[in-house]
Amino acid sequence: MTSDTVSEDTPAVETRKETSSMLVRVSQYMGVRLILLFFTVVVGVYLTILIANMGGYVDEIMRNEIKERVNMQVAAMTANKPISPEVRKQMAAEMIALEEERRGLNTPFVIRSFRYLGNALQLKFGSAVQMVSDAGSRQVSRIILERLPATLLLMGSSQLILFFLSVLIALRLSRAYGSIWDKIVITLSPTSSAPPWFYGIFFILIFAAALKLLPFGGMISAPPPENTLQYIGNLLKHLILPASSLIIASLFISIYTWRTFFLIYSSEDYVDMAKAKGLTDRDIERRYILRPTLPTIITNFALLLIGIWTGAIITETVFLWPGIGRTTFEAIGFFDTPVIVGTTIIYAYLLAITVFILDFIYALVDPRVKIGSGK
């Protein structure tokens, strides 16, 4: 571009070269990025497997549990019968062997852990060790899919409301720094130190037990309404308390965080200039505050979307909400590694894909960002 002698076709060649160079650069970047992300997923999932099994210690715990349960069963089956201790011992040994085989304990943990990893990476979820889906299936995919709608509903509605409410209010507050509302939000932000289930219990006591306005828990009344509209209404009624708990528990700290973030941008000179030019508040917010903060907002939003997948473990348990969070909670209690790994691998892949896509979105929404430029 700086040559003094330029042929007529040079720009086209240059452009082709540039395009070709950019493609190579982007491809290389994508390749490296994908490999790194995949490696991260592998490490993350394998760590989950190790942690879920306490490095193999869970095998011992499960063996103990099997032995205790089988011995009790054998004791009950043979109580007050002229059955010799040898026969009883043989029965117990056979039953223990069957159960250990069923749970895969006859294979060393190291081998099993890599088997879990391999299957997980290929999205072969297999069968749960102990858990069954509500419909009675031991297929991990069924267990997860069965609970997915409930979690998407609860987490989706609460987290989206929380996100947009926070951003909207924070944006306004950042323009009204020091106002009474700003002070109220700052004052209330420590309330978010309490977890959602804490609010949940209070809400249950107030709105279900005392006022009898809303249900104690569950996702639907028993029996559920047969009419679809009534069903949706009933569902929303059950959604109010758990969703409110999740929203209230994070609302003020979320507003406070966003408000502080927006405050940095809203006190920039160009914002003052825009104001001096007489632009409306709406235009200032949209063009001069939201625009430069868009990558951060999109990142948060994207992570929120995949976070919806994981559910809210304790809040779902408190409200008996049949979601992924409660399933994960039960799976941890049962040491059901396939289920734990199943929920983790999906989250891991979603996270990796999101991170990967975000790089491109940054480049689209922010002209300063170039993919693979190393800057």
């Binding site: 205790e68 011995n71 026969v87 989706g156 104690f216 559920p224």
Partner: protein
């Protein structure tokens, strides 16, 4: 921003629609049609007349014309136990059937709710009785006298009041305080409870003496051994219901009080289990553990409890039990009791009484509390609670739960969870909450008495029980006839086993032939055994242990097994076993035995051969068969069914119960455990083997009315409990032959499996009749069976079932499924109307075609606990006669004398020692006179004495105790 809001809106709507889409289509709520007779005449075997010597109970006149359950509807849902009381108070639910622990009792009482009680956990201190390997560590509990003395160390009443709000019962013995054995041994138990009552100083005195004897010394109030304080490690469970923390703390404090240092280690079940259960007890990692056990069935015979809870022969089989060296008398007695080695009820009573005494002397475990569960419900509800199993676990609940003074209505039944595992009657869900609901849909041969553990005829008319002379069997109720015979011969045409290949029953005559063949082969095996053992020794000797690898060990083992297989003349496959076990064994040897430790390694190889043989031996079944004796049985039960059984009892799909249902149940007893069966399931084998050790045969004497003879070597002490299950009630629920046939077809085709084990192994779904992915598979096979007019196990079943009849049954199934959307079909007083799997709820509706009136079991509304009052002189002159009147009543009405098993009194002197125990006879209904003659009062010293009365009713196994004090003066 608008776009973002639009996205939010779309996601919200999508989520709502997605959730709504999961709604199962609720089936219409109409009740199944009243049964229509669809059966063609059944070709039957020639009926043989058998006169019943037993007498069917006369039915009381009904007080209602309602049939089936009292309620119109029961809506089952899931709520957390934490909110149960609040939810009943708020009117959201009517009953929390799963029960709450003692810590919730104050909340239940405060809320003013009604509640029933059931057995909860029972708590004790489990001691480590070993002498530790480390000689510098003293384990006081290796001394039986110290363990015994700790009974005086703990104030059980204090624990009950402080930890359980007085809602539990102090416990000294392994037997359960409210079960029949305790009632039978009430006087013995009371005497021992008095002797071992809380006495801190006595505990200190005995323990101090023993500690000194063991070489310990008291330094500055602390016990020291070899210069270091004696520190007791107390493993205190911090999970479960939370009450083991205060118990563990209290026990620790008491030990600290008498000079021990206590290391309180708070652990979860899993953490503690790794130490006390699977750890090496000799390693000194623990001294005591806050154990708890459960008794959820009203067990009328706890003979095995001493072996179970104290002896090294316990089925617990864990290291600490194996390490307990008991007094030889106790060991022998406990083992004999466990194997029912007694001739008469009286002999057993004496053995149990002695075992109670010896168990406290052993005190391997020191029992503290019999816990209770509390089931709260609305005050206007009536619910029958089993003394052990509560409401949900009681077979009778569907027949008695109702609103007071009214019929019909809807009960909102809440429980802990639902659909814990797939529902099928063969190997389906056994979760208490699932079984609670299933009970409402089932009936059966007999009804379990919730207060005594005996049974009443539900679908049978009566039964004759014949046992061999000398067996300690007695009877309480009139519907069963008990007789003793010198020998009970088994006729040759009785069905004794099942041939899965020919699909026919094997008769006694055929089995005798098989036994003879097995005996000759067993003899050959025995003869070859020394040669096989010599071969093993030779192989081990020749093996170079330094070259031990998975491959070399496998090769060595295979050579040995091949030799044994040839010599024994049996097929013996160990490849699967070796594939899973050898790597672990080699790893263990490498880690624990040095390469140059040739002897150690060879010793391990010897163990390894034994281990392989124990786990894969194909001769076990053969030897078991060879040891069977089909000439006679210890018991024969003849069960008589009412003449209208097959007309009056209908399945929820409208079909009549038929003889085919009964025969299918008989076949299924055997078929799944047979390797030649199309539905063979290894999971069924462990339970099948002990059954076959005692089962001798059965014979259908007549099909109309149904009369069946049943021969077995197993017997219970109560004649009423010697009734076989012949009604099509499987392990986990009822099953019509048609549903079993359809499920078997699907399992044989490899599409589903009854048991979780087999489902996992075959990578198919576990059979569920209530919903889920297997429903469509079942529906497909219903269609197939319908199209084919399929008769299952045709070689046998065709004698009891025609093709037309089969088609009619499949059609009924198909229609039921089309209407209700599931296959859960029983004969109980309620049927499953709607099922919501993910929502975890279910609707039961009254089954109007149920044959019995709703009030049939109304007399089981409440346990008839005896109320006792004692009236007598407050002052008695020594050497003079004194008379006390004992009034026994129930709700103010005198208790009938023939409903009282025994009334005993215990006389305590001024030192709280029992000086006399005697039985009191009734002078009239509800009145008993205790006469303390001059001789008796002469033996008393001056002071305050106590007269305690124990009343044991027949109608409820819970004794009532009442006492009165009187002063003796010269």
């Amino acid at each position: 921003m608008r776009k973002l809001y639009a996205i939010l809106g779309v996601i919200m709507v999508a989520a709502l629609v997605l959730s709504a889409c999961t709604t199962p289509t609720a089936a219409p709520t109409a009740a199944p049609e009243v049964p229509v007779a669809t059966e063609a005449p059944v070709p039957e075997p020639e009926p043989t007349e058998a006169a019943a010597s037993c007498v069917a109970l006369a039915a009381a006149a009904p007080t209602t014309d309602r049939k089936g359950g009292w309620l119109d509807e029961i809506v089952v849902s899931v709520v957390t136990s934490d909110s149960a009381v609040t939810q009943i108070e708020a009117g959201a639910i009517d009953i929390y059937a799963n029960g709450l622990s003692s810590k919730d009792l104050p909340a239940i009482q405060e809320a003013g709710l009604s509640y029933s009680t059931a057995s909860g956990l029972y708590y004790d201190m489990q001691y480590n009785p070993t002498v530790f390997t480390d000689e510098n560590l003293l384990n006081p509990f290796s001394n039986r006298k110290i363990r015994e003395a700790t009974n005086w160390l703990f104030d059980r009443d204090y624990i009950n009041q402080e930890v359980y709000a007085g809602g539990a019962l102090p416990k000294f013995f392994a037997i359960t305080t409210q079960f029949p054995d305790y009632a039978d041994l009430a006087d013995v138990a009371r005497k021992l409870e008095s002797y071992y009552a809380y006495d801190l100083e006595k505990a200190r005195e005995v323990i101090s003496a023993e500690m000194v004897g063991m070489g310990a010394e008291l330094v500055d109030g602390k016990w020291n051994y070899k210069g270091a304080p004696v520190t007791l490690i107390n493993l205190i469970r911090n999970d479960s219901d939370g009450t083991r923390i205060p118990i563990g703390d209290y026990v620790s404090t008491q030990f600290e009080e008498i000079g021990f240092v206590v290391d309180r280690q708070y652990k979860t079940s899993r953490e503690a289990g790794a130490i006390w259960m699977s750890g090496d007890p000799y390693a000194g990692q623990w001294h005591m553990y806050t154990a708890a056990w459960s008794a959820t069935v009203l067990d009328r015979d706890q003979s095995n409890i001493f072996q179970e809870m104290y002896l090294d022969s316990s089925a617990q089989g864990i290291p600490v039990f194996l390490a307990n060296v008991s007094d030889p008398e106790f060991k022998t007695l406990g083992d004999r009791l466990a194997q029912a080695d007694f001739k008469t009820v009286e002999e057993r009573h004496d053995m149990m009484a002695r075992a109670l005494e010896l168990s406290l002397q052993d005190s391997f475990q020191v029992f503290l509390i019999d816990g209770k569960n509390f089931i709260p419900y609305r005050t206007d509800m009536i619910a029958t609670s089993d003394l052990a199993a509560g409401i949900e676990g009681a077979m009778i609940w569907p027949y008695t739960v109702r609103f007071e003074g009214s019929e019909g209505g809807t009960v909102r039944w809440a429980t802990q969870n639902l659909y814990g595992e797939p529902w099928n009657p063969i190997a389906g869900s056994n979760w208490a909450y699932d079984q609670g609901v299933i009970r409402a849909t089932s009936s059966g041969d007999v009804m379990y008495d919730p207060y005594t553990g005996l049974v009443w005829p539900l679908r049978i008319a009566c039964a004759d029980v014949e046992v061999q002379e000398g067996l300690p069997v007695g009877k309480t109720l009139d519907w069963v006839n008990l007789k003793f015979s010198p020998e009970i011969a088994i006729p040759d045409d009785v069905w004794a086993d099942w041939d899965a290949t020919t699909q026919k029953f094997l008769t006694i005559a055929e089995m005798k032939g098989q036994v003879e063949a097995a005996q000759s082969q067993a003899a050959a095996i025995e003869a070859a055994q020394p040669e096989v053992e010599a071969k093993a020794a030779e192989l081990i000797e020749a093996f170079d242990t330094a070259t031990l690898t998975v491959e070399t060990l496998d090769a060595l083992t295979l050579e040995y097994i091949a030799f044994a297989s040839e010599k024994y003349g049996v097929e013996w496959d160990v490849t699967g076993f070796l594939a899973s076990e050898t790597p672990g064994e080699v790893e263990w040897i490498d880690a624990n035995l040095a390469v140059d430790d040739v002897e150690g390694r060879k010793g391990e190889l010897e163990w390894w051969f034994g281990y392989v043989v124990d786990n894969t031996d194909p001769t076990a079944e053969l030897l078991g068969l060879a040891s069977r004796d089909y000439t006679s049985a210890l018991r024969k039960t003849t069960v008589y069914y009412p003449t209208d059984l097959f007309e009056s009892v209908t399945w929820h799909d409208g079909s009549n119960l038929s003889i085919a249902d009964v025969v299918m149940g008989m076949i299924m007893t055997f078929d799944r455990a047979k390797t030649d069966s199309a539905i063979y399931d290894p999971q069924s084998v462990p339970g099948y083997l002990p059954f076959m050790e005692q089962f001798k045969g059965m014979k259908i004497i007549s099909t109309d009315p149904l009369i069946v003879e049943y021969y077995s070597d197993a017997y219970s002490l109560d004649a009423e409990l010697n009734i076989p299950t012949l009604f099509p009630t499987y392990t986990f629920a009822e099953g019509s032959w048609s549903m079993i046939a359809v499920s078997n077809l699907a399992e044989a085709a490899g599409e589903i499996a009854y048991s979780a084990d087999k489902a996992l192994a075959k990578e198919v779904e576990q059979t569920s009749w209530i919903g889920g992915p297997t429903i469509e598979v079942l529906a497909k096979y219903v269609d197939q069976a319908l199209a084919d007019g399929f008769i299952p196990y045709e070689a046998t079943m065709a004698q009891f079932l025609t093709k037309e009849e089969a088609v009619a049954r499949y059609q009924a199934l198909k229609d039921f499924y089309a209407k209700q959307g599931h296959f859960w079909i029983g004969t109980g007083p309620y049927y499953v109307d709607q099922v919501f799997l993910t929502e975890k709820s279910l609707v039961l509706k009254q089954y109007a075609a149920y044959p019995d009136f709703a009030d049939r079991w109304a007399n089981f509304g409440e346990p008839k606990l005896a109320e006792v009052e004692i009236d007598g002189p407050g002052q008695v002159k020594i050497g003079e006669e004194a008379v006390f009147d004992v009034y026994v009543s129930y709700e103010g009405v005198p208790y009938e004398a023939d409903e009282i098993k025994v009334v005993k009194f215990l006389l305590y002197d001024a030192k709280n020692q029992i000086v006399k125990v005697a039985i009191v006879e009734a002078t009239e209904d509800g009145l008993y006179k205790i006469v303390l003659d001059a001789e008796t009062t002469k033996a008393l010293e001056a002071g305050a004495n106590k007269l305690e009365v124990a009343v044991v009713p027949i109608t409820v196994s819970q004794p009532t105790f009442e006492s009165v004090q009187f002063v003796t003066a010269p």
